[in-house]
């Protein structure tokens, strides 16, 4: 990594791990929103990974989120597994659900996007109907919270924040590693020239499938975290389309071609939605999200944050010239 980006990364991590808890830790309301924003950011990250590396747009990430949530919740409630182990299992469960979806990879863009959506619907219906396993539409209650580790109560808002932050950092790191590896280079080429890669020995189907599994694992992880964070789960919540819409808006807003873009986008979009839009238009405040999404696709498909970055750079550059 270049020294300049290394410094900014360390700075960002310091700010996130130290500054935020110190400054905002006492404000439970804001902290809970930051945690929610990071959960969405995590799903947005996994969505963007699938889009960027796998070249596939999905409208069904709620499927992975929900499966991860249920697997983790049920293994702690019914089998008594420790929470962190269950969360990992949640990710694994989501990955397995993605294995069922592998045949869908052969399909082109829109068909893939909607086929995944169909899976999400199916999972929701299964979760609702298989009541002996999942508690049906009533859901699962009293899901164990995050434990206390080294004297730090992770169930508190600040504690949960640290956990979800760590999850985001780990996923971002993994994403970055894959992207800069040889697999990442091949994946980049596969978007527009898949045959060209296959003719030189790239098993493109395997790589795409791997990206789907990785993306599913990540989304499942955050779903699992969410289950232990709010301690309650039901099908309509776990597989809600909000887990589709918000991450997509967040990822596109923040710039889905970058790694941190989706996360930053999630923080901004979610906080603005909850703090401003919700108070302006209590029912149907998501209308603004829709407008945002439409505006971005038309005017700045690469995201608004990158656009802001460009403007900032230009403005600063102009100042330097004058000085």
């Amino acid at each position: 990594m270049k020294s300049s980006s290394l410094i900014s990364t360390i700075g960002l991590l310091l700010a996130a791990y130290v500054a935020v808890p110190l400054l905002l830790g006492s404000n439970q309301y804001v902290m809970s929103m930051v945690v929610a924003a990071l959960i969405i950011g995590g799903v947005a990250l996994s969505w963007a990974l699938l889009g960027n590396l796998g070249g596939m747009v999905s409208f069904g990430h709620a499927a992975f989120f929900g499966v991860g949530a249920y697997v983790s919740a049920l293994t702690t409630v019914k089998l008594g597994l420790p929470v962190f182990a269950a969360m990992l299992l949640g990710g694994v469960g989501a990955t397995i659900s993605a294995v069922i979806m592998l045949p869908v990879l052969r399909l082109r863009g829109p068909y893939f996007a909607l086929a995944i959506l169909a899976y999400a619907h199916i999972f929701r219906i299964v979760a609702t109907e298989w009541s002996s396993l999942t508690g049906g539409s009533g859901g699962v209650a009293n899901i164990p919270t995050l434990p206390t580790v080294f004297g730090v109560d992770l169930a508190s808002k600040t504690g949960a924040y640290l956990v979800v932050l760590t999850l985001v950092v780990c996923c971002a790191l993994a994403y970055s590693r894959i992207r800069s590896s040889h697999y990442g280079i091949a994946l980049r080429a596969m978007h527009d020239s898949e045959d060209a890669t296959r003719v030189v020995g790239v098993n493109s189907t395997l790589l795409k499938g791997a990206m789907l599994l990785v993306s599913a694992f990540m989304a499942g992880l955050f779903g699992a975290f969410n289950a232990h964070y709010i301690n309650f789960l039901e099908p309509d919540y776990a597989f809600n389309s909000l887990w589709v819409t918000l991450p997509i808006v967040a990822a596109i807003f923040g710039g889905y071609r970058t790694i941190l873009g989706p996360v930053l986008g999630a923080v901004v979009v979610y906080l603005v939605d909850q703090l401003i839009f919700k108070s302006l238009i209590p029912t149907g405040h998501q209308l603004v999200l829709g407008v945002l999404l439409v505006a971005m696709i038309v005017f700045s498909p690469n995201g608004l944050l990158p656009l802001l970055q460009k403007w900032l750079k230009k403005a600063l550059g102009k100042e330097k010239k004058h000085a």
């Binding site: 040889h182 980049r188 527009d192 060209a196 003719v199 030189v200 020995g201 790239v202 098993n203």
Partner: protein
């Protein structure tokens, strides 16, 4: 090294390749000619795994590769260029070769990549975007370079000279001449120009309407009445 045994490729009612039986040894340099639509590219597609023959058998180094997927055949040693160059998008020239080498052979050898870049005269453009910053000659050179990076045993060249003007063509021909000597790879090349073929290839195979109608030295093949007829369409040669 490569055995085609009665291979036929049918698309619906159209027979593109008709019962072709051909044997290619590891030190062969074979020219594949025939008028447009004779089935040459389809034959290449069948060998490299892009299409599946409707009947017949294809054996590479003794093993049956009919069911082997395209990416696997590349790893086994069948390299191929496309008539219309297909560079890997969003990658530089060097990255194209890195991917080809990494996935075609299992590891990356930067020295070898530099050699190939040098051989195909692409060193100057190594860090340029492959899909948007190369001239036609360079794109075609990249096709060959990519295939070479996979360390092939058999190289299928599909009309690499097509569309090139005189100087480019001459440079390419020089490169093709050295290809077999320098990399020890068996070559089958599709070209239209009879003079070029006679110059480069000690053996020529002729396809006409999907059928193999001649297989021998350039001299013998181009004097063959059946071959002449297929080119001129004359009722009697």
């Amino acid at each position: 090294m490569l055995e085609l045994d009665n291979v036929s490729v049918r698309f619906g009612g159209l027979t593109a390749v008709d019962s072709v039986t051909l044997s290619i040894a590891s030190n062969d340099v074979i020219g594949l000619v025939g008028s447009n639509g004779a089935g040459k590219t389809t034959l290449f597609n069948a060998i490299s795994g892009l299409v599946r023959p409707t009947s017949g058998a294809i054996r590479f180094e003794g093993r049956d590769v009919m069911a082997t997927p395209m990416y696997q055949r590349a790893r086994l040693g069948i390299g191929r260029t496309f008539q219309i160059p297909q560079p890997m998008h969003e990658l530089t020239v060097r990255e194209n070769l890195i991917v080809a080498q990494r996935f075609g052979t299992g590891k990356v050898d930067h020295q070898k990549i530099d050699e190939i870049l040098d051989f195909t005269s692409l060193t100057a453009k190594a860090n340029r975007d492959a899909a948007s910053e190369l001239a036609l000659t360079e794109l075609k050179a990249l096709e060959v370079a990519k295939a070479l990076a996979t360390d092939p045993k058999l190289l299928l060249l599909d009309e690499v000279l097509a569309g090139l003007e005189t100087t480019g063509k001459r440079r390419f021909m020089g490169m093709l001449k050295d290809l077999h000597a320098k990399f020890g790879v068996g070559i089958v090349m599709i070209e239209h120009d009879i003079e070029t073929i006679s110059n480069l290839c000690p053996r020529v195979a002729v396809l006409n309407f999907g059928q193999l109608i001649a297989d021998g030295t350039p001299d013998a093949v181009f004097r063959d009445p059946a071959v002449i007829k297929s080119y001129t369409g004359a009722a009697d040669a």
